[in-house]
Structures are given as C-alpha cells and as structure tokens.
Symmetry: D2
Subunit: 341 residues, 4 copies
Amino acid sequence: MARLNVGLIGVGRLGRVYARDLSSRIASTRLIAVADTNAELAKTIAAEFGAARAYQDPADLIADRDVDAVVIVSPTHTHRDIAIAALDAGKPMFCEKPPAIHLEAALDMAAAVQRTGTFFQMGFMRRFDPGYAAAKKQIEDGRIGRPVVFKATSRDPFPPSVAYADPRSSGGIFVDMGIHDFDLARWFMGDVATVQAVGAVLAFPELGAVGDKDNVIATMTFADGRLGVVDLTRNGFYGYDISTELLGPAGTIRIGYIRETPLLVMTRNNVAHDTVPYFMERFERAYTLQLENFAANVLGQRAAPITIHDGVEALRVAIAATRASETGHTVDVSSVEAERV
Amino acid sequence: MARLNVGLIGVGRLGRVYARDLSSRIASTRLIAVADTNAELAKTIAAEFGAARAYQDPADLIADRDVDAVVIVSPTHTHRDIAIAALDAGKPMFCEKPPAIHLEAALDMAAAVQRTGTFFQMGFMRRFDPGYAAAKKQIEDGRIGRPVVFKATSRDPFPPSVAYADPRSSGGIFVDMGIHDFDLARWFMGDVATVQAVGAVLAFPELGAVGDKDNVIATMTFADGRLGVVDLTRNGFYGYDISTELLGPAGTIRIGYIRETPLLVMTRNNVAHDTVPYFMERFERAYTLQLENFAANVLGQRAAPITIHDGVEALRVAIAATRASETGHTVDVSSVEAERV
Amino acid sequence: MARLNVGLIGVGRLGRVYARDLSSRIASTRLIAVADTNAELAKTIAAEFGAARAYQDPADLIADRDVDAVVIVSPTHTHRDIAIAALDAGKPMFCEKPPAIHLEAALDMAAAVQRTGTFFQMGFMRRFDPGYAAAKKQIEDGRIGRPVVFKATSRDPFPPSVAYADPRSSGGIFVDMGIHDFDLARWFMGDVATVQAVGAVLAFPELGAVGDKDNVIATMTFADGRLGVVDLTRNGFYGYDISTELLGPAGTIRIGYIRETPLLVMTRNNVAHDTVPYFMERFERAYTLQLENFAANVLGQRAAPITIHDGVEALRVAIAATRASETGHTVDVSSVEAERV
Amino acid sequence: MARLNVGLIGVGRLGRVYARDLSSRIASTRLIAVADTNAELAKTIAAEFGAARAYQDPADLIADRDVDAVVIVSPTHTHRDIAIAALDAGKPMFCEKPPAIHLEAALDMAAAVQRTGTFFQMGFMRRFDPGYAAAKKQIEDGRIGRPVVFKATSRDPFPPSVAYADPRSSGGIFVDMGIHDFDLARWFMGDVATVQAVGAVLAFPELGAVGDKDNVIATMTFADGRLGVVDLTRNGFYGYDISTELLGPAGTIRIGYIRETPLLVMTRNNVAHDTVPYFMERFERAYTLQLENFAANVLGQRAAPITIHDGVEALRVAIAATRASETGHTVDVSSVEAERV
C-alpha cells in the first residue's frame, strides 16, 4: 500500500495528537518530519513518534524533498505564511481550523490555493465524527425532510487562559469556538445571509478585561430564508458538551452526547453518570478519520471535501456574529469584507 | 351514564386510594359504602370521600341492598371469607392481589366463583399500566416475534415492617412481592412448568429472623419450554424499580423507568436525576384504570379480564418458587397443591 | 373542609378539562356553574360534571350569588370584559393565559385589579409542573449557582387551524405559544431588557398567508445583562416537546422529556420509544395543581403567586419579540407600550 | 522507552486486531513475529503490520530468540500445548480466554505455570474496559456498600456458525459466551459456591442439533452466601448487548450501553437510535488497554492481574452451569473436577 510521507508543522497539544495519528494510527501515512519554533520540542516529538527529521523553521520542512505532504497545526496567526509557502512549493496541505482570525489572511490563502492549484484541505474535524457523518447521511436519505432550523450548542468545561482568549490572537469566542458550529451550519444548510447576536461576560471577568465574552448567542437566516441559532459558553463546567440539531418538516435529528463511561450509579433517590471531559475524548476518532481522509485524497488525487472556501466562509460568519454582538444590529454576512490589519 | 354503586371493604393505605378513585376519579362509579374492622377509620374515610354509609362488619356492607358491587382491599388473610360471602350474595366483586397466601384459600375462592357464577375480577394492576398494556399490544402486533425469554425485576425502596413481612401473614417475598411478576410471566408467556430459586438474607437480618428473605432469584421454564427469570429485592434504596423484558426472535421490549421528574441536574463531571419513590407514584394511573375497567365490565356484563384462576396460578408459581429456594431443587409447579392449614 | 364554589366561563377544549378538575379532581372546589356563549355546550358540560347551573351570558354567572370565585377559560379576546366585570363584582378570579393579545387590554385588566383590590391569579401552568417547580427549588438551593443563560424550546406537534393562528386573534406565534417561555424566562431570570428575533414561514404557507410565522427564534438580554434564547416551532411532528435549560456558573439544569410510555422497543439495529402527544398529556398534572393552588389561595386569603403584572410583562416581551422579528432590530422591551386598537 | 518484542500466535479475526494493536497502537510493544497454521495468512499479516518474521509452527516462534514475550490467540483447543511450550521456554505469555474448554487442560496449564514460574496473564478484556474498571473503583470506594447481588446479561447479535458452536470445540454457550460473565462474577464477588441453570433451544434449531443451547440462565450463590444471576442469548438481534449490575446495600451500579453513534432520530411519534454492532466496537479500547497492561507488567516485572487460576475457576463455574442446565440440579462448583478426555 502506498504511504504518504507527511511533514507536521506545529507540535503543541493538538500537534502531538496529530503526530501520534500520522505515525501509528493511520496505515496510509508515515510521519517523516516535524517542525516547531521550539526546536527542542520538535526533536522530542520526532523521537517519540519515530520521525526522522526535526526542523525549527517550517520552510526547511516544506523544502524537504522527501516530504510529500504538509499538515499545519501551528498557531493560527502563522497559517497564512506557512500555507502560502507550502502551496507555492506544490506540497499538498492540510490546515487546522480556523484558517486565520482575520478575513484578509484567509482570503490571501484562498488566492494562493487558486493561483497554485495545489491541493488544500481545511480541517473541521466534526464533519468526520461518526455522529455528524451519520446525521448528514440521514438528512441526505430524507429521513426528516429538508431541515428548516439548525441549532448548535458548544460548551467548554473551563475557560482558556487569558492570553489564549485575547481576541487579538484568538479572534474572540465566535471565531475561536464558534467556527466549528458555523461550518456545520453551512455544511448542513448552505450559505448564511444574516446574523444577529448577543453576548456578555457572565462568568470570567478576566476574559472581559481583554475584550472577549464568555457567553454568546447568535441567530442566523440562511440564504434561502431558513433559520439557525448557535449558542456558546466557556463555563460548561459539567463537561464538554457539543450538541447539534436539525429540525425538518418530518422530524428532527439530534447529534451529541455527554456521557463518558457506560456507568450508572444509583443511590438514594439519585441516578448519576459522568460526563465527557474535553474535546480530545469527544472527537478522538474524528481527528484520526480526518487525517486518514486527507491522506486518501492526496494519494487518490481526489478533491478536498473541505476547502479553503469553507474556511473563509465560516470565518466570515463568525466575524459577522462578533460584529452583531458588538452593535446589536443585524449583520449581512456578505458585507463582511477583508480589512487590512 | 349508568353509575355503579360500590362498597369498599378495607380502607388502609391502599384502600384510601381506592376510595379516592371510586368517589372522584372514575365517572362510572359512586362510592356509597365503606367497611373496616376499625370502625372509626371507616367513618373518617366515608366522610372524606362522601360515602353515605360506614360499616365495621363487611357482612353488613355486602348485605346493603344499595351496594351493587364490592371492592376488597382488606388484609390478605380475610379475602377468602369476605369473597365467598359476597359471591354467595351475588355481588360482583373486585379483589386485590394476592387472592390468599395459602393455595387452599385461593382454591376455595375459585370454587365459590365456579359454584355461584358471580362476577369476580382479580386485581393485578400492572396489566393496566399504560407501559405494560402497550407492551402487550406490541407483542400481539408481532413487533419482536413470539417472546422466548421473560425477565422481571422488582425492587422495593425500603423493607416492610417485620410484622408485615412475616411469611405467616405475607406468604414471604415470592408471594408478597413476586406475585405481580409471576402474573406478568403468565400473562405474556403462558403457564409456568418448573421453577428453580435461590434466596438469602443479605440486608435485613430482622427479616431473616421471622423466616423471610430479602433477595431472591427464580428461574422458570414455561409449559412450552421457553425461559424466564424473576429477581426481587427489598433493598432497592435508590428508588422503586420495576422493570420487565420480553426477548423475542426479532428484538426485545423493555418496560420500566426509574425517573420521577423531568429534571436533569448537571454539575462538575456529574449528570443526575431523581427516582420514582414508591408504587403509588409508579402505578397511580394503573390503579385508577383497573377500577374503571372493573366498573365497565360489571356495567357492561363483560367477562373479567383477570380471573380467580389467574390469581390461583400466580400464587401457585410463587409458592413453587418459595419451596425451590428452600430446597435447592427444581419444583414442578403442578406439584404444588393445597395443604390444609 | 371548606370548599370553594366555582363558576367556570368558557367550556371549549381546555375548559372541559377545567370542568373535570374543578368537579372531581380537586377536593377543595365544587363546580357549581358554567357559562359559554354556546348555550347547548354549557348545558352539556354542566350535566356531565354535575354543575347545577348553565349560563349563556358570563354576566349571569358572575352575578350568581352562590358563585364564590370565577375561572375564565374563554377565548382570549373576551378576557378583558369578563375579567373587569368579575373584578368589579368582587369575585376572586383565575384567568387562563394570555391575559390578552393587545397590551392595552392587559393593562386595562391590570388597572381594574389595582382599582378593585379583587383577587386575580394569572394562569401559567408550567410553574406548577413538578419538573419546573423542582427546577425552581434547585436554583433557589444554589445547586448550579445563579443562572447566566436561559434557554427554552417549545414545539407543537401540528399546526393550529388558520383561523386560530390568525395573528389578529392569536397575537401570532410569539404571543400564542411563546408567552409560556417568556413567563418562565421572567420567573427564573427577572425582567427582560431587550429582544432580537428572526422568524420565517418554513412549513405551513397557509400560516404565512394570514401573517403568522411557523418557526421563530428570539434572543434576550435580561435587565442585569444575562442572556436568554427562545425558539418556537409549529412543525414538531415527532411529538410535543417543551424543554428549558438554566445554565449557571456551577452547572446546568434541564427540564423536559419527550417519552410518553415506559416502553423501549429494540429491533434490528434500532432502539425506539414513543413521544408525548400533546400539552394535555404533558401538563395534565400541572393544570390540576394550578387550580388547586388557586382555590387554596382564595380560601386561605393568600396573595396570588402569578399576578396580572406577570401576564402583562410576559405579553410585553412577546410583543417585543414579534416586532423584532418583523424589523430585524433590537427592541427595548420597555419601549413596547399600549396602542389603542 | 523499553519496548517488548512480541510474537503473536494465531492471526484469525481477533488475532488480526491484536496484530494491529501490538504493532501500532501500543507504544511499549513491537510486533516482531507472527505464527499461524495457515502459513499464507501468517505472511500476509506479518507484511501488513510490519512483523519481520512469519512462522507456520508456533514452536518456531517460541524458539525465536528475539521474541521476548508471546501472545496466544489461536483456537482454544491449541492453548494447552502452546502455552506449556512457551512456559517451558521461559517466555512471558498472554493467553486469550478461555484457557481451555476442558478443565483438565486448564489445570495442566496451571500446573505448568506453577512449575516453571514463568509469567502468565489470562485474557479477560472486560476487566480493562473503562466502564468495568470504573465500576470496580466505585465499589472499592464504597459508593454502594458491599454488593449483595450480581447480575449479568450477554447477548450476541447473531448466532455463531454451527461448526464454531459445537460444544465439542466451543465448550457450549456457558463456556464460550458465559466465561466472561463468570469471570466478572468472581472479580466483583469472589468464589462461586453453587450454580443452578436452565437452558433451551428457542431460536436456532441447528444449534440444538449439535448439542448447544441458544438461551440459558444461571443463578449462583457465592461462597459467602451472596447471590448472582447470568443470562445469555445468541439471538440478541437488536445489537451486541453486554450489561452488568452490582446491587449493594446503599445503591446499585450498572455498566453497559447499547447506543453506537450519538445520533437521535425523532420522527412522527417515534424516537430512535442505533445499537452497538458487535464486540469489537464495544470493547475495542479494552483490548488495547489489556495488551498495554500485559506489556507493562512484563517490562516492569509485575505480577499478572489476571492469572491462570482465574481462568481455571471461571471455567469451572461455566462447566458447573452447563451441568446444572443439563440435570436441573444445583451443582456445587467445587465438585467440578477434571476428567480425562
């Protein structure tokens, strides 16, 4: 079986998971190089997962002739330059979400994809979760008719660090957390026309201090008039809770679960079970399937199922929601354009 | 609409519920008389529920010419004499389970029903629970094919008083608690051929001191070779838990729930809900529907859906299980015959 | 025990349920008179539930000296005149929701309550549902801290008739269906400051033809900055689905269930259960408890737990949501004032 | 990190899974050799998972000096000879359940373990399932007190081939399927004293033709008088259903789930979800954790958590249950001794 020699750029928390998957869980990939601005970390991860080469500069990894394809999990603000370099080098590429936090950067990436014709796959792992994939199939099979309302809830079990949450680097809660839900919205329902939103700092004043919010709700109208709503919270202390619903004319489909182990403890007048701790427990399989799909697409010369366009448009909705929550006005998504930053 | 004038014998805990149902919840009945050996209680209940007459002696209630029908909820050991008196008086009758704790007494009642031809309806309220009724219908509709295994679990949230549990008056756990499950077994699967059982005193030594057990398990083979199992416990502290399953060649049906209010409380790493407190909360509606059915049968001159034969045979299985748990041997249900006591 | 002699005005679908509860399920009430513009229906219901008197004109019922208290379940547009007449007559009164569909009428009723000092209880039965009541208690006990986000979903399993849904008589979906959710929002979170909303006709064009919508979503900011969202649909074909959530700093509370009977049918690769058909099955007990509470308050000379003010304010939010969905703008709830109509 | 060089004997259905785990999912193992009587298959699997050597004769694998440890997943009837050869060669060993189908063979293995002092770990993967492991911890933490009743249900979604099910090679349903439940019984409750059982052929006459049963129920008394029940079926068509309960004096613990994807499809009056297809989906993680534990024990020179004694005793209970179901008598587990076969 042909195997894809992959170079991995960025080996922080999520990058380490990608290193494990690329090196040992996916039969069609081989992890041959890693790069990280933290050179020591690059070496450690390379050693742990049997990658022969460790680079500090992503450019060196991209230039490595044995590297067939590049996977980018570096910090979001670095995506643009690395992606464009890889695209120009003709290296097929997978890029973790979001593409960027500023629309301008994402559009630059889109322009480079267009210009070079290099393969580019956007990372939105939920689409590979067996639950979401099964929902998509049920919808396509007509089980509930054509959905009329999209609902999504995402809750993190604890807040990010203030440094991480700073909207100048994270894009704010709608971009950082919500982009997954806006991508699902587009995947299931098509383009978003307008957005309204409310938001507040209700649990973590320190997040407010840097300009972020910890609880937000956005409603959407889709291009064809259908409706949607996304609510996000950073204080879902009970567990990591991601749930999505598609309400159609013949029924409804719900995706999501909150229970981790199959254990029910029933004591005096009380029945209790545990909860999913965090995103790696919930989406472990989706991450693996996503990279497996990336490798199969590159090896099989198939088109990417999630494109830079999907990344750009989900980002545009997230920015529209951010503006709507700041102004209290309905925002036309199409009015969100790149501003030089 | 014709209304049935009912006389109620026995107004203890359950009798009070019957008084309420007969007087106010069932459009087709009127509670016109109550009887209880506790004359004061009879008067109090009669006043509370608007029954015109209160008797101490059940014979007086039976003899009351305005009493169209009799409902018996008095202590089990009194059923035989009261039932036979009412049958002889030609009064249609409803009798709470079990018919008796000794097979002899139950057979005497059966003989009186046979001899007099008077209407007699045995009380097994679970058959009127919307869940069990729906299960019966699903089985008849062939949803899972003809069931091959019957499973039932009954758990009380706290033990009875030692006085109540004494097998000399209660019949022991298999008769007192299990008779409901054995009736369901017969209702869904037909006659029971053989029984094996184990039992122990594992939670309440005081029950062991009077000769009862607090945890028992009985397996059954039905007359046609199919299988069943019933397990009972008196230490189901978490809540009142009644669950039954019918496993068929094309699927399985489960009846039962443990959640009382529709409330889910999710706190740090824990999701919890409450439980059903006890039998009145679980079977409140079944009790009402059962008496409503009784009234409809008497007024409409229809046959009783649950007969003294059903009472006798469920009791026979319960006694067989008791013997099996004492001897460790397989007991043929048909070998259980009346012994003069 | 003292019993309250109640006169019931309006004996349509819900009125019939109230007649049953007042006559037979509530020990502290006696149904002595009914009134309905359909005189035949008034007589039929009076006969069925043993009310001695049947009136066509509500004024006659109100004037009946034996009528201690009045329960109004007549069409919404008649509430104002009937209520004011009863208030002027000094008859304690229970009024089904909504108080009115125009704010002016509701304010007129509020003025009459103020002027006469007569007892007035607003009907919002969900507050008496054991689930919602338990949630309130959990909140007060501090189980999840002070809630920061309120979420509510209401779904009807089929659309109303076009005649019923016509916003000129129903007030539109936010008033007709949503007022329950807006009342819950106020009950759990306090006053609503601003509302945004979207809505569309996505399932029943005939509803659009008369100016109503069938799917709407409203977000709210409460007076103290906390957040809320309510979504309503008239095409919840799978069953009657009412669910509410309170997300707090230490956890979340969910109220709601969709399963009717305790039956699980498991067949090849599929586990299925049924759903709650409609509001009477879901809230049967709440309706009874609500009237029981009304009687206890009147007999015990206690203040009404739900006042005309609660009715006025929930209506004001519903009207604000309607306007917001029409304009796409954020609406200050306090800006919604009575217009002569 | 030290890695254990493992030789794998038997690469059929489950063996292939072990090959994948040993080669790629477990950081502390390296799959260096495989053996199978089907030499072609051995070569194919070796190539697929990067094992350098493929043998036809297990003796050659055992003799391979680079093989540090041996994992046996060959057919049950071959376990004895292979295990004894490996033990004599001083190769630490993991052996898939059951140790054997005849007690004599299992005892021979136990004697060899005793004689050689070589490390031997018995495979009962359920003990490594996060659900069962969490249950064990909850029990040890005293959440429900000391359990008094053990209940277990195992259901296969389709029958084995007649050739596989033949009791002469499988040991019959109690040995083949039930040994997992009897091991759990011993793990949670201690030694089993007596067994009663019933069984029948109710779904697959062809299984009856070779002397097996397709539905069985066994009750147990433990050495200290506590109670247990295990029921098994080969016609659990709705899905693979493994559930276990521990009822204690202060509550109950249930382990098990039947839902595969987090998808709920709600259509007219029906809410449905899918089911777990089969054992690999249910216990995938447990299998991996089990081998990981084996490697850690060998590398760390720790004692095996599951010994040949556990294998022998679970087998003894399974044989006792088989005899009990054939005779209808209570069987003392200690009376089950090896017979030369």
